[in-house]
C-alpha cells in the first residue's frame, strides 16, 4: 500500500462540507494520478451517499462526524464510509423503476441509483453502532501510472 494513495478524513454532518469532500477527492486523485472522469464519478457517488447520511442519518439532530477512508491502488479505488447514524443499508435498497413516462417518475432513490451505476462494488455492514459502507471503483488508465520522484 502506497502512502501517497491513501487518505483518511472526517466531515461534519453539514451540507456545506460537500465542498471539502470534493477537495479531498480531487487531492487524492492528483496524487495518485486518477483520470478526471473517474474522479468526477467517485465525487458524485460520495456526494450522494454523504448527502443521504446527513439528511436521514441523524433525526435527533446535533453535530456528528462522518469518516472517509480512501485508498488508491494502481487499478482500483477503495472507499470506506463510516457513520454513527440510524442503521441504513443502501445495498438492500430497491432500485428505481425502469424509464417510464414523465408523469410517473418518482425522485426517491435517484441518488442511490446513480451510486450503483457509478461504482463497481458496494457492500454494507452494521458494526459497533456504525454503518460501514465499502465501495470499489476500477481505475481505467490510458497508460501506466507515472513514477513520481520524492
Amino acid at each position: 500500500m502506497n502512502a501517497q494513495g491513501c487518505l483518511v478524513f472526517e466531515l461534519k454532518n453539514d451540507i456545506r462540507e460537500l465542498a471539502a469532500l470534493s477537495r479531498h477527492v480531487e487531492a487524492l486523485g492528483r496524487r495518485a494520478g486518477i483520470p478526471a472522469r473517474t474522479l468526477l464519478e467517485v465525487n458524485l457517488a460520495l456526494d450522494e451517499l454523504f448527502t443521504n447520511i446527513i439528511t436521514y442519518g441523524f433525526p435527533q439532530g446535533g453535530e456528528h462526524r462522518i469518516r472517509f477512508h480512501l485508498r488508491a491502488d494502481p487499478r482500483r479505488l477503495t472507499i470506506v464510509i463510516e457513520d454513527e447514524g440510524v442503521p441504513f443499508d443502501p445495498v438492500a435498497c430497491a432500485p428505481v423503476e425502469a424509464p417510464c413516462p414523465l408523469e410517473e417518475r418518482r425522485v426517491g432513490g435517484l441518488g442511490l441509483h446513480l451510486v450503483r451505476n457509478l461504482m463497481d462494488e458496494m457492500s454494507y455492514r452494521r458494526t459497533q453502532g456504525k454503518n460501514v459502507l465499502t465501495l470499489r471503483k476500477r481505475i481505467e488508465r490510458q497508460e501506466p501510472p507515472a513514477c513520481e520522484a520524492g
Binding site: 456545506r16 472522469r37 448527502t51 451505476n117
Partner: protein, 116 residues
Amino acid sequence: MNREADMEITEETRGNARLFRLQGRLDSNTSPALEQRLAEALSNGTRGVVIDFKHLDYISSAGLRVILKTAKALKRDNGKLLLCCMQDYVKEVFEIAGFDSFLPILPSPEDALREI
C-alpha cells in the same frame, strides 16, 4: 470560497421563453437557489423554459430533482422545458438517471428556443 457562489444563474427573456444559463456546480447546496428562480419564473406565467448547461461542470441528484420538478410543473400547464449544451459528464449523469428519455437535450440555445 462561499459555497453559494459555486453556481451562478443568469436569465433572460427570449421571445416567449425564459432562458436560464447555469455555471458551476448544481448540487444539494446550490439547487435550492435554482429551484427558487425557476419557481418564480413559472409563477410569473412563463410556460417555455430553456436551461443552458454549457458552463455547468457538475450535477447531483439534488439538481436532477429540480429539473424533474420543473418539467412536471410545466407539463401540467401545457408548458415546455428544454435543455441544451450539456458537457459530456453531465450528460452521462442524465443518461444514467434515464432523464434523457423524456427531456430533449439540444445542441444550442437557438435550437432549444425554436422548439418552444
